[in-house]
Symmetry: C2
Subunit: 247 residues, 2 copies
């Protein structure tokens, strides 16, 4: 591992929770290390002259090949024991890193969590040199993550749940065109509860932020659901006041 | 200044935005250093074995004499230039600190902001040994604060504004008994806009979270406003769902 510790601020890291959505539900981007059976969020360190939020953007690009202009900071994780993990310490020892690098990794780190919601179809993560693979996992199927990364994921989802009326949930996570059923599934995945279908559609459509598209003519076309897209301007205006949909 | 830098995590600090409310509006707790004309938030460092959130609680107690069980983390400030301030550097040099202590202060710090809303009548801040005074300032009358402390204050208030339906604004900031006019003034101070009186009272009272108390019998008593207090249980239950009052 080529890694010049002198370039970086000691003791502080960033970790990215990148969420996407498909028909299996909400998914989080997780990397698998080369060698030991260890899974983690895409994360890294802050250059000495670099702003914290810019570090998150760079780290995500370098580690996962995802280029986003902005990531949202949601919380900083500073438990003194957040990186205590004896089996992990053993695995890291097996990597036979230079002594100074070992000491770097062994110091206490406070980490700031950043998140982004991405459209699965526009986002092709690639593993970096340190990683064997990178992929999307549903929350139920998350592998064991190192350190406190699982609670970082959970806190990110909690944050989105709390902010559901103020974050551009639909417009970032869904493809350009979607059905009301898909939109409802998205909200249900985040809220982790079922919503009443009639009620959901009525309230959503009342917001006046959708364009409705022609049904595709197919066999049994009258049964095909309408496809919708967001009216970006109306969506953005409403978002500023809060899409006061879920209460 | 007695200060053993070896006890602390390098490069990371905590700063506390403590807000109270009185008839002049929302106020923030600010300390003035002994000697140079410098004002700052109560802040400090994290002990090597100490959790980040516990550090905030200890720092607030040590520096401001305020003992709170919990402070809410709202954001971490990590601009690389957040502590660049040549006049401040000059003032710090005048303090003639030991060289190692100087170097400690000159390193880059990332700081995590914590906030709390307190009842002015139950909270008596006292300055620590490093400070000449500590006091409450309205946002309009804030003195020049060091570093990025002013934007830390502004971001704290923005956070409260965004969370106004989910934070226990009234129950923490107001005295036990209050008038609807005081409650409205509190909301107006946070939102920085006027609210319609009739509309405010009607919506608030509809929430069913208040106890109404007998008017004090005085001269012209029929004109005296009703005093209210919060029904703590109902308030708490509603808060979990969001006091969906402001939209």
């Amino acid at each position: 591992m080529q890694f010049d510790i002198n370039q970086f601020v000691p003791g502080h890291s960033v970790d990215c929770v990148i969420l996407s959505f498909d028909n299996e539900g909400l998914k989080v981007l997780v990397m698998k290390w080369k060698g030991p059976e260890m899974f983690c969020l895409p994360g890294g360190f802050i250059r000495k002259e670099e702003d914290l939020d810019k570090a998150a953007v760079r780290v995500l690009l370098e580690r996962a090949g995802i280029d986003l202009p902005f990531l949202e900071q949601f919380s900083t994780f500073g438990r003194a024991d957040r990186r205590d993990d004896s089996s992990l310490a053993h695995n890291i020892k097996m990597l036979k890193l230079p002594k100074a690098t070992m000491q770097w990794f062994e110091q206490r780190f406070i980490t700031t969590g950043f998140l982004s919601l991405v459209d699965r179809n526009k986002c092709n993560p690639k593993p970096d040199l340190m990683s064997e693979s990178i992929g999307w996992y549903t929350i139920e199927e998350l592998p064991n993550l190192i350190y406190d990364h699982r609670s970082i994921v959970e806190e990110a989802i909690q944050y989105i749940r709390n902010q559901i009326n103020y974050l551009p949930i639909g417009i970032t996570l869904l493809p350009e065109k979607f059905t009301m059923k898909e939109l409802q599934h998205l909200y249900e995945s985040i809220l982790e509860r079922k919503l009443d279908r009639g009620n959901f559609q009525r309230k959503m459509l009342k917001l006046g932020i959708f364009n409705r598209h022609e049904k595709q003519l197919e066999g049994g076309a009258h049964k095909a659901p309408y496809l919708y897209s967001f009216d970006r301007e109306k969506y953005q205006n409403l978002l500023e006041k809060g899409i006061g949909f879920v209460s």
